[in-house]
């Protein structure tokens, strides 16, 4: 799907809650110290007054600071999440209200495990590209759920990011094209009323994450007549540190194109927030002329791939926002007891 490069990102913002738990601390409680083989991992944990709505609002406000646009010109506010504080009642109406985009703005929540943010981004781009609205906001945020003691618990973090799509001539990064690839794959799910997701263990690898990302990116390469050498950086969904490096290698990317923007070891896997948060972190650091490949992954299952070209405008507007690095640096360590309390694993009522 090429829009003739008519649409791009005009502002973005990320947010990560300040608490961190060391994966070694998760091990201490469940498996015994030193049981975990791969590198150090810290994951972000939302505080007692935070949830997906507050995370999304902060990311959206940071994006608005950078964009400096009239919120009334935003025709849609679409956030993706799998940890809605309200099962029924949109998260996105809170976000749209907070930035002043209501009442003439679409505002719905998107769900596709970890990838609704890029699904919303494609729709937002289509909305702007078709002329239905001048700007559209999309984003992803989660307080990622994981069963105590489960393998997911090492990485399931908290955070999110927001992007404002608008006309290419106002853009800090122009969308050159995007593709999607989806199948009906039961690799990971959470049933209604359950607190924690279930997953197919090793089934979540090859037939799920790898197959979908490789298929979406291969199609993007084909449609845009490009290859891995045409990109400065590639950002893949990051459920852990290794998967993005492995899928990138399979697609022909070098480690140096992928590694700079992997955040999993610093904030964890923020599910719907993960890819977009890494994209925001990358935009904080890249230079005009850089080309960035994005490829999300959502269980269930699907992947969206997109190609962006960074423009000169990035250097002009970037300093108005709050860099993702600021939130990474705010990390405050907590132990498993506080983690259990802040993630409502201890029920008071």
């Amino acid at each position: 799907m090429a829009l003739g490069s008519s649409v791009g990102v005009i502002g973005y913002g990320g947010y990560v809650p300040r608490f961190r738990i060391d994966a070694a601390e998760v091990d201490r409680v469940w498996k015994g110290p030193g049981m975990r083989p791969n590198g150090r991992v810290f994951k972000a944990v939302s505080g007692p007054d935070e949830d997906t709505i507050t995370i999304a609002i902060q990311a959206a406000r940071n994006a608005m600071k950078m964009a400096e646009i009239d919120p009334a010109d935003i025709g849609a506010v679409w956030f993706g999440t799998e940890s809605k504080p309200y099962a029924v009642k949109p998260t996105s109406t809170f976000v749209a209200d907070a930035i002043g985009a209501l009442p003439f703005s679409a505002a719905a929540d998107w769900e596709f495990a970890c990838k609704p943010g890029t699904e919303a981004m494609r729709a937002a781009a289509a909305m702007v590209g078709s002329g239905m609205s001048r700007y559209a906001m999309c984003g992803g945020a989660d307080t990622a759920q994981s069963r105590p003691g489960d393998a997911l618990e090492y990485h399931a973090g908290a955070g999110g990011a927001a992007f404002i799509m608008g006309p290419a001539d106002e853009s800090l990064a122009v969308l050159l094209g995007s593709t999607t690839y989806a199948t009906n794959t039961p690799d990971f799910f959470r049933r209604e009323g359950r607190s924690y997701p279930s997953h197919g263990q090793r089934f979540t690898g090859q037939p799920a994450y790898f197959h979908h990302i490789e298929s979406a990116v291969a199609r993007l390469f084909d449609e845009l007549k490009v290859g891995p050498e045409d990109f400065t950086y590639a950002i893949f969904h990051q459920p852990n540190y290794q998967f993005p490096l492995r899928v990138g290698k399979a697609l022909g990317f070098r480690k140096e194109q992928i590694e700079p923007f992997i955040l999993t070891n610093m904030v964890g896997n923020t599910y719907s927030g993960a890819l977009l948060l890494s994209f925001a972190y990358a935009l904080d650091k890249v230079a005009p002329g850089d080309r960035i490949l994005l490829a999300s992954y959502g269980s269930g299952a699907g992947s969206d791939a997109a190609s962006f070209l960074v423009t000169d405008r990035l250097a002009e507007v970037r300093s108005r926002g709050v860099p993702v690095q600021y939130y990474i640096d705010q990390g405050t360590p907590i132990d498993y007891a506080f983690y259990a309390r802040y993630t409502q694993k201890i029920k008071l009522t």
């Binding site: 007054d49 709505i53 809170f94 209200d97 907070a98 008071l348």
Partner: protein
């Protein structure tokens, strides 16, 4: 929490919307229907920026119902750069690091909830200003 009251207070709670008097120019927070200075009813909505200074603070250990999951937390008075003084909770900081005179900025957070069948109350809190280069 009464749903009608929650809905009425939402513009102030979530957007920090206050009022500006068309006759005497005074700014008030939260929104009012009549000016506290000159009694005029000619008020217009006024969007506060959310920047301020912490004037006084205390740490709460014995919280009212609906706030218990947040203890210990800091409550204080913040003077907005536009003038009005707002009572609010202070977040993202350990109670022993809180200092009067600190520059703070508004964030939207969960304030309280009276139960799983009631709405979650979201509103303004203040946190140390996000400094960056």
């Amino acid at each position: 929490m009464d749903i009608a009251r929650l809905w009425r207070q939402q513009p102030s709670n979530i957007r920090l919307l206050g009022s500006r008097c068309r006759s005497c120019g005074v700014l008030t927070f939260p929104e009012r229907v009549r000016c506290a200075e000159c009694c005029s009813s000619e008020l217009q909505a006024y969007q506060f920026k959310g920047d301020g200074e912490l004037l006084v603070a205390t740490t709460v250990y014995e919280a009212p119902r609906g706030f218990v999951d947040q203890v210990p937390y800091v409550a204080g008075l913040v003077r907005l750069v536009e003038g009005p003084i707002v009572a609010a909770m202070i977040t993202d900081i350990e109670p022993d690091k809180v200092a009067v005179g600190m520059r703070v900025e508004m964030v939207t957070r969960r304030i309280c909830s009276s139960g799983a069948d009631d709405p979650i109350v979201y509103g303004y809190k203040f946190r140390p200003v996000a400094h960056h280069d």
